[in-house]
């Protein structure tokens, strides 16, 4: 199993390499000139050139790419063009807010989605099932920036119970994580429901039922346990997307996280930060995929690692 893990880990390298080329080309294809931005609108041409030289932005693209790779290999993410800080520091600072937000969003949405999904599966065809599934479709269809604005309008502006934005205290997590998790909860509910239904027709469940086990035990113990594999996969994938994909929600709530950092960096053509962040997102996504695969083994030992 360890061997399998290591082999999978090694297989990530070429993918990451591909992504690094992609990222580098992408960022340099963007129109915009960081030297000019740093100098400001009212700076003269000479000032801009001086800054360009100081930042090594006058070197050929290929040389800049090699620099980028070299630094990446040694764990050096570079220096932000905008603030002059090490990129690692900036990402480190922005990481925890996004992490907390994602964890909170995932926690409530998975619990909620699992329960709703199983209940719907058990009571198939009931009014509750229909209502639950309608709610789930609604959750998927809800533009999260709108949901965020509605929540903010009601709880922060109208009632004044919660802050409108930023991350200063734990209660600031409430609205953004509800907003971010809504879609995930809906996906989880739908997915769990169909996974449970799917498993429920397997032979061993029929056997269990035939043995006269109580329906509740059959569903919660046997069916759910086996339905858990696809559900864990889905939850893992969702987590990857939460971490990386909360850009819009962070924008709505001005969350000081990775999404805001990335939007700022893109707006400012802060190449070093954008490159580092996209690499990080990709790596994170690949690792989560790997972790999900590994988890299979613990949930269902029948799966063999070749």
């Amino acid at each position: 199993m360890l061997q399998y893990f290591l082999r999978r880990l090694a297989a990530l390298v070429p993918v990451l390499f591909l992504i690094s080329i992609f990222v580098f080309l992408f960022i340099h294809a963007l129109p915009g000139d960081p030297a000019r931005l740093l100098a400001g609108e009212s700076a003269t041409q000479e000032e801009v050139e001086a800054i360009r030289k100081a930042l090594n932005l006058d070197r050929p693209l290929f040389a800049q790419y090699v620099d980028f790779l070299k630094n990446l290999a040694t764990g050096n993410l570079g220096i932000s063009l905008r603030t002059g800080e090490p990129v690692a520091t900036m990402i480190g600072r922005a990481f925890m807010p996004t992490f907390w937000l994602s964890v909170c969003a995932l926690a409530w949405s998975v619990v909620f989605g699992l329960v709703a999904g199983v209940v719907s599966a058990v009571r198939r065809g009931s009014a509750g099932d229909h209502a639950g599934m309608f709610l789930a479709v609604s959750g998927i269809s809800m533009p999260n920036f709108w949901l965020g604005l509605l929540l903010m309008q009601f709880f922060s502006v109208h009632l004044g119970w919660l802050g409108t934005s930023g991350f200063d205290e734990p209660s600031d997590l409430i609205l953004p994580s509800i907003t971010l998790g809504a879609g995930v909860a809906a996906v989880m509910a739908r997915f769990t429901r169909s996974a449970v239904i799917d498993v429920a027709r397997e032979d061993f469940i029929r056997t269990a039922r035939a043995k006269g086990l109580r329906e509740r035990i059959v569903i919660w113990k046997h069916a759910l346990r086996n339905a858990l594999i696809p559900v864990v996969t889905m939850a893992g994938l969702q987590f990857g997307f939460l971490l990386g994909g909360s850009i819009v929600v962070e924008k709505v709530f001005r969350w000081p996280g990775l999404g805001s950092l990335l939007l700022d960096a893109i707006n400012f053509r802060d190449y070093a930060v954008v490159q580092a962040e996209i690499m990080l997102f990709s790596l994170q996504f690949l690792l989560i995929n790997l972790a999900v695969d590994m988890l299979y083994g613990f949930i269902n030992p029948a799966i063999r690692y070749k």
């Binding site: 992504i19 269809s141 533009p143 709108w146 995930v184 996906v187 850009i247 819009v248």
Partner: protein
């Protein structure tokens, strides 16, 4: 956005728990009825939007500086915006636009994805590896980020938003069709066609593709909803269509400036429009899946 998940896998499962014929009937009926209602709503919205210039007293771009930011009233059903433009008229105009963006971008994404998936699944080997590797890389990017990147490179504007959203759809279609192709190409029926001397192209498009078309159509419908969401998100963060155009995401984005001033109607109605439209596409997709996806039928 966070909703990749909606992958067709979620729905392709057979449902065979023992249940009464009545509840089965009711389930089908409700799903179909819901889908019917959703489809009907979308159709009506599109028709009204198309007919709006002849029905409504206001055009979407008609400004009235004496009457800005007014609350919903009998004359302006959804109020007016900061230029005194009728929000209801703008929402109807936005409906045309969003459906256009959704439909066109998913069509482009589907065509490219289907062809790539067919080729990859049918020929296998290095072609398959490359297509799937590229799909992996595309998948490794949060969709909205990919769209942001594409729009940032190409510049904002309708065409580029469509391209950005289309690219975002390609890998999913490619994967669906590939997996379908992998299964179908081993069937005796395809073997027979090959033995009868059919060319690869004929086999792919005449014998394999129709088998996977059900899943593609279902996914297509759901994808329109997601694409509308992505496109409006792009506009919301300022990377969408030209801001003067009545587009839902853009309306929400400018409207939020006035939210704190108590002008809720600027954000409420465009958001509701996005929500209802995407909801209807998703319900319609669910219904279609029931009706079309052959894997769903108990065989």
């Amino acid at each position: 956005m966070a909703l990749v998940s909606d992958a067709p896998a979620a729905g392709q499962k057979t449902e065979r728990i023992a249940r009464s014929p009545f509840s089965e009937f009711r389930r089908r009926f409700v799903t179909r009825l819901g889908a019917l209602a959703a489809g009907f709503f979308l159709l009506v919205m599109l028709l009204v939007a198309l007919a709006a210039p002849w029905i409504l007293p206001f055009g979407p771009d008609e400004f009235d500086y004496k009457n800005t930011l007014s609350a919903p009233s009998a004359i302006h059903w959804a109020g007016t915006d900061e230029f005194g433009r009728d929000i209801f008229a703008r929402i109807l105009n936005g409906a045309k636009l969003s459906m256009f963006i959704g439909f066109v971008s998913v069509t482009i994404g589907a065509v490219i994805g289907v062809i790539a998936g067919l080729l990859a699944g049918y020929y296998g080997g290095w072609l398959d590896s490359i297509v799937m590797r590229v799909a992996d890389v595309l998948f490794a990017f949060p969709g909205i980020l990919l769209a942001i990147g594409i729009v940032a490179i190409l510049g904002a504007g309708l065409t580029n938003v469509i391209i950005a959203v289309a690219v975002f759809s390609v890998p999913a279609f490619a994967r669906i069709v590939r997996s379908g192709t992998l299964g179908l190409k081993e069937t005796t029926y395809v073997e027979a066609a090959r033995a009868a001397g059919a060319s690869n192209v004929i086999i792919m498009f005449r014998h394999i593709l129709p088998g996977g078309l059900g899943a593609v159509i279902v996914y297509f419908t759901m994808r329109i909803g997601t694409s509308i969401l992505t496109a409006t998100s792009l506009s919301f963060i300022g990377l969408g269509v030209e801001p003067s155009i009545a587009e839902w995401g853009a309306m929400l984005s400018t409207g939020r400036e006035y939210m704190l001033a108590g002008k809720w109607h600027l954000t409420f109605f465009p958001g509701l429009a996005i929500f209802l439209t995407v909801l209807c596409f998703n319900i319609l997709g669910d219904g279609l899946r029931d009706a079309l996806d052959p894997k769903l039928d108990d065989n």
